[in-house]
Symmetry: C2
Subunit: 313 residues, 2 copies
């Protein structure tokens, strides 16, 4: 079944210990869509400016991504400038030029209305809620957010969280949302805010899923899952790793949709976590979207098997 | 097959967010021996003072631990005072009274000479090397160390590492030893110093094993293993978690010794990692050795199965 992702399509200017790159294609929706495209049909809702050229759109369309929902408007595209020179674990933002993204009003093309799987990437929770309301028949809704919305737009964000089947965030965001430092208490705190399930990314330590009693039963201790990270000796560019994780994760879930009828099952959820790790690990091996552009489903499945091999008794 | 552990037997005065305790039984050899005692026969070489009473020795002997090698000398036992009030992740040392441990000269009883599995807990590497040399017929030798020896006694430590089948340390120690910050490069760096295999503990993120080409083949990527941590909502006292991990891990390996003839196999090594996690997780749930004293093999196996359940596809 197809996925609709709504989020940023942008350019990134990056500096990492591996080098510098000017204005590479980026944005949460871009990374997500490319990662998910190895599993299912993907539709994108976003906005770009006049600097977004056919060659940029072709990065998505050549992977079969439907870009009908990428609105072209006068002006410049969102441009983020960041550095990982001090630490690969945390981006230092040098400049955030929102440009046309500042007035982003997501418009859902008629051809997207039958979408079963909705992913609300990290944008203003008011827009997330609006898109969600416009697709009342979506079978499954997942979403991301970030520290800015947690700190400054908490009430709006809380309305979105209550509607989510899956919230996918990192450990710092889980701590901020819950006010708890212990990982397990933080997860419980976030689940108490309403999402039916929670995926927390722990960077090089993999990820964990936590399920509310509405998901697979009421035993919290049993209703968890840990997925390891692919051993990563070199990280070239961490930008988009989380979105690539989300794309691999949700793409796999949607690819099993015909079987599951849009319901989550523990088996599908677990494998999806592994696929998320794989896509996240691939994405950091080159700048921007380069690595995702040249991977294959065969390579992805090989890494999936490797991850299983190094984590199963 | 039986294990001999050489290391500290001590008293700890502790403060954690859960409360304060004065002079509870502690020490690396104590935690290790109790954890390993659920799997195999354990022998201890250590030194204590006159404050180490029959009731303290009974904590070990009641679990079947052979304490023949615990030497009683005039004076006071090693006494460590520490606080975890600022952070449960890092102990703040308030006082280290080495007392009789300052002049520790490990003496191996004649009845211990047939030991097959030797564990060199965190003591002066000169003593570790001496004990190792006194048991030339040990089938497997594992060991631990700490930042102090890495920083100030590196040359002596390097001699010990070259003789180890398994080095068990935490992620900070792996970084210090290797000079690398990336976990995978740190592991490669430590293996280059000589140990045949390396287990790195990542606290709440579980642990990983890395094998040199001398172990199970020459593909480093394939020769790794990740074990998750048991979800831990509350940590009462982290003291001895690493030693309990090592005891559970090595105890399980020794318990399979009759089958394996003292050789490491991937299957045994992997399960041992899970048992290490289980014993580490139990140990932090109460002050000192309290939790290990009242667990059972049935409870341990139940946690082992839980860990498998939440980490396997």
């Amino acid at each position: 079944m197809s996925i609709l992702v709504v989020g940023s399509v942008a350019f990134d200017t990056l500096e990492t210990p591996s080098g510098k790159r000017e204005r590479v294609l980026g944005g949460a929706a871009t990374h997500f869509a490319l990662a998910a495209s190895f599993f299912t049909d993907v539709r994108v809702v976003g906005v770009v400016g006049e600097d977004f050229l056919p060659e940029h759109e072709a990065v998505l369309t050549s992977r079969g991504v439907d870009t009908t929902g990428i609105e072209h408007v006068p002006g410049k595209s969102f441009h983020w400038t960041g550095s990982y020179v001090k630490s690969l674990d945390a981006a230092e933002t040098l400049a955030t030029d929102l440009n046309v993204f500042a007035d982003f009003e997501p418009k859902i093309p008629a051809s997207y209305r039958d979408t079963d799987y909705l992913f609300l990437a990290n944008i203003d929770p008011v827009l997330q809620a609006r898109v969600r309301a416009e697709l009342p028949n979506a079978k499954l809704v997942a979403g991301d957010t970030m520290n800015y919305w947690i700190a400054a737009h908490r009430d709006n964000l809380l309305k979105v969280l209550r509607e989510l089947d899956i919230l996918i965030i990192n450990d710092n965001e889980a701590r901020m949302l819950s006010g708890e430092t212990n990982n397990i208490r933080a997860a419980k705190g976030v689940l108490a805010l309403g999402p039916k399930s929670l995926v927390v990314k722990y960077a090089e330590h993999g990820s964990a899923a936590y399920f509310s009693p509405h998901s697979f039963g009421d035993n919290f201790e049993r209703n968890q899952f840990r997925a390891p990270a692919t051993p990563q000796e070199e990280v070239v560019d961490p930008t988009g790793a989380g979105d690539s994780f989300a794309g691999g994760f949700y793409g796999y879930i949607a690819s099993r949709g015909a079987e599951t009828g849009g319901k989550l099952t523990p088996e599908v959820f677990r494998k999806a976590m592994f696929y998320g790790c794989v896509l996240g690990s691939l994405s950091v091996e080159a700048f921007g979207t380069d690595r995702l552009q040249r991977t294959t489903r065969a390579e992805i499945d090989q890494r999936f098997e490797h991850l299983k091999e190094i984590s199963h008794l």
